[in-house]
Symmetry: C2
Subunit: 483 residues, 2 copies
């Protein structure tokens, strides 16, 4: 708990009611607000600035791996959606339908895209003719809609923003390689830019994307030990190519079906940032994506002091330059203490205090949001020290989250142990599974835990299925209760 | 006409059929394609890269003038849209309606946003309490939908991408000033970044945004002399504040209605770039927004030559660095001549040819897309010369378009003259108008020309209304046939 004022006391403690804490942080920090439309939210400027930074960094990673952006229509004719049987069965129950355009009822219902495989597949079948047209490496940043029954800000909303990549390849190997490349792009983005450690691996049949051959995901652990699927990369095989007739003339002259992938991450990642890093005082923003990296709180009593402080603040700003996202809080309605709390709530990584004494001594006071460590820095060092601190905070946030995930990841060898560990404290459970969907379903039924992924790395070993006890040989799978 | 090959001959001449030329350029240059959904298009990677560059530059201008981005829901309950009478009357006929979510029919229809004043107004009434909360300067980049009867790629499509700014102010003066600030932001963006000259001014009552107090616009002249409304900035007055109850406690303690503005430009501007700058060989991209600024076409016959050229190309790339968007066309299926045509069609501002002789002489050949002027540049000068040329091309494109607009802008003093000038050649007509909506309507009926805007600058003079002949005193208004 922070010492100052009544402001922070209004925020529910994480440990008292995690879910309430989560919602309060979002509303009070003005990341988002409830919209007056069922299950929808408004992303407010502070939350959107975070999303913009995330987009910029992830988009650069896509482009560095050869991808380009495009834009496909919002509306998908029902007949297109219906072409891939598993896909339509998976998504139709959550589609919002347009049935009227202007004053005319439509002959065919149009789905607001829940995901765009169908409409994009249709275009690809038109554009792709020869092996020379491949690979196609297209990504789209857009809004999608899923008519969810239970919604929660950022984690599950009727409308959300995301990116969806849709690629086409000549061979199965290339498509598989692309699926893996993107899984690694997601992993490094989430770990390096958002300071969120993940486990990654393949989804089981029950948990895979409807219409995919195989789904891979990165899974993060939230502050309450629950899992969050943070990104998915699907090897689509030839499922959509067959129903949308995406064929090409190969080098050998033969006409063949193409191989596809699709992959996405969404504004849900903002929910992950809040839950992984936040504390009882509010948000803690990873420096790389923080809308404001340094908040300067000038301190003065008399008007003359204010002028001196203002002059010094300008010098500091000029010194630090534009490489750091810095803002000065000149608001004169609130006390410095109130402002400290406000900017802690909003999670700004570094607070810089500048008062008359600092001006006199030619120094500033820096306070880290994550550890609250305070230090005095001479004017000449301010630029380099701020940069160092931002790097250090980014690094420490990832390490802290990694430690937490490690502590809450447990190897269990019997179903009894599985249940008792899960009852004591939520987290990841590493257990053996025989591969039978029935065992998976029963564990879920009994405990609410699902297989988050089957890891792609790690030692293989002898073991026995956590449910049926059948001997197995392979890697332990990751179980957890998920958002 | 270009000399090379059969490729370009496929493109219709501008002068033969402007409209067909326009569509062919878009499809052949792969800027966009028709989507299999009524009136919708797909923005292909080359077109989307252009849009991304435009977004980046315009967004920087918004941020430099104090604006921030946010995101509001796609769906608007019918009852919200209905609150402002003129607004709903203007937009309801072109709304796409969602009537079903998953398997349940909805109690209230939801409009896919045709524009977001209504949903944003609702949120603003919740967020704004005091004069201290003002101004609110929010912009949103998003998709909108209008159920248009007649559509045309980029110019008028059912779904399009745009930005919509929505600001709230304490006083009428501030709102008016914001409206004007944005009009100037649009003007300088379109002129300086897109090399498209505009006239700007106020819209008449008949042409204003439905729900606004006053609308201002920038108007550009296309290559066929027709006008294109390229951006609008609306002073909304208190219309929406009254119906959505957006009130604030002012400094004097009184509760007052807020003053609002809204403003937008869209992917329609891509249509303007094509029509203002394009020629019989295809697109000409303004360097500042061109997806590719320099296309390198390596020329070789023997494999050994190819290696030498490749080595030199790498040196040139390293020399030019990342400040210039440069791409090398190593495709080995087509001849250099074919590639010249291809990249002319796509409008890349500078072509760089590098063949064995250039390698030997340590030089490159640069060809301007706009003038086709060719020059040989020594390796040491390549970086500075490319930068100079890009600046020069950007400058010359604006000047050429300005000359064209000047030539096609004529002062007319009688309706006879008005008609005969318009029949001879489309363009802007500067004429006096008495201010009567009836005269405006009759001119439109007789000639298809509308008042594009009432200019905000220029000499006032005595004159007589082009339709009724009544004496007037003031500025001439701008008439034209519009897209």
């Amino acid at each position: 708990m922070s010492e100052q004022g009544s402001f922070v006391e209004e925020l529910t403690d994480k440990s008292d009611d995690y879910s309430r804490w989560y919602t309060e942080v979002i509303l009070k920090a003005e990341l988002a607000d409830y919209a007056p439309v069922r299950g929808c939210m408004v992303i407010r400027p502070y939350g959107y600035a975070l999303w913009e930074n995330m987009q910029r960094l992830l988009d650069a990673r896509f482009k560095a791996t050869g991808h380009v952006n495009a834009y496909f229509p919002l509306l998908i004719p029902e007949s297109f959606l219906a072409k891939e049987a598993e896909h339509v069965a998976g998504f139709a129950p959550e589609v919002a339908w347009v049935t009227q355009g202007g004053s005319e009822p439509l002959e065919e219902r149009l789905a607001i895209r829940p995901t765009s495989e169908a409409i994009i597949g249709q275009m690809y079948s038109k554009w792709i003719h020869s092996w020379r047209d491949l690979p196609v490496l297209i990504n789209q940043w857009c809004n999608v809609l899923r008519w969810e029954k239970v919604t929660r800000l950022f984690l599950r909303t009727t409308e959300f923003l995301w990116q969806e990549g849709h690629t086409v390849h000549r061979t199965e190997e290339e498509a598989q390689q692309e699926t893996m490349t993107i899984l690694q792009v997601y992993r490094s983005f989430v770990e390096e830019d958002l300071a969120i450690p993940v486990v990654y691996g393949q989804k089981t049949e029950a948990e895979k994307f409807k219409g995919a051959e195989r789904t891979y995901s990165i899974e993060a652990m939230m502050g309450d030990g629950k899992a969050l699927q943070a990104g998915t990369s699907h090897m689509l095989g030839q499922h959509f190519a067959r129903v949308f007739d995406i064929t090409f003339q190969d080098m050998d002259g033969e006409r063949k079906y193409a191989w596809q992938t699709s992959w996405g991450v969404s504004t849900r990642l903002i929910g992950a940032i809040i839950m992984v890093h936040g504390d009882d005082s509010g948000l803690i923003m990873p420096p790389k994506v923080a809308p404001i990296q340094v908040i300067v709180v000038p301190i003065w009593r008399k008007e003359q002091e204010k002028e001196q402080v203002a002059e010094f603040v300008e010098k500091v700003k000029a010194r630090i330059g534009t490489a750091v996202r810095l803002q000065v809080d000149w608001d004169d309605e609130h006390t410095p203490g109130w402002k400290f709390n406000e900017w802690e709530l909003r999670g700004v990584p570094i607070r810089m205090e500048i008062g008359p004494r600092d001006v006199k001594n030619g120094q500033v006071v820096l306070v880290r949001r994550d550890t609250r460590a305070k230090e005095t820095v001479p004017f000449d060092d301010v630029e380099s020290r701020v940069q160092e601190l931002l790097d250090q905070i980014q690094h420490d946030m990832l390490e802290r989250a990694r430690d937490f995930m490690r502590q809450r990841t447990r190897r269990v060898d019997s179903f009894e142990e599985f249940k008792s560990v899960l009852e004591r404290e939520k987290g990841f459970l590493l257990a053996h599974w025989c591969g039978d969907p029935d065992c998976e379903a029963r564990v879920k039924e009994e405990t609410g835990a699902t297989i988050r992924c089957i890891p792609l790395e790690g030692d293989e070993e002898e073991g026995s299925c956590i449910w049926c006890g059948k001997p197995t040989r392979g890697r332990r799978v990751v179980f957890g209760r998920a958002y």
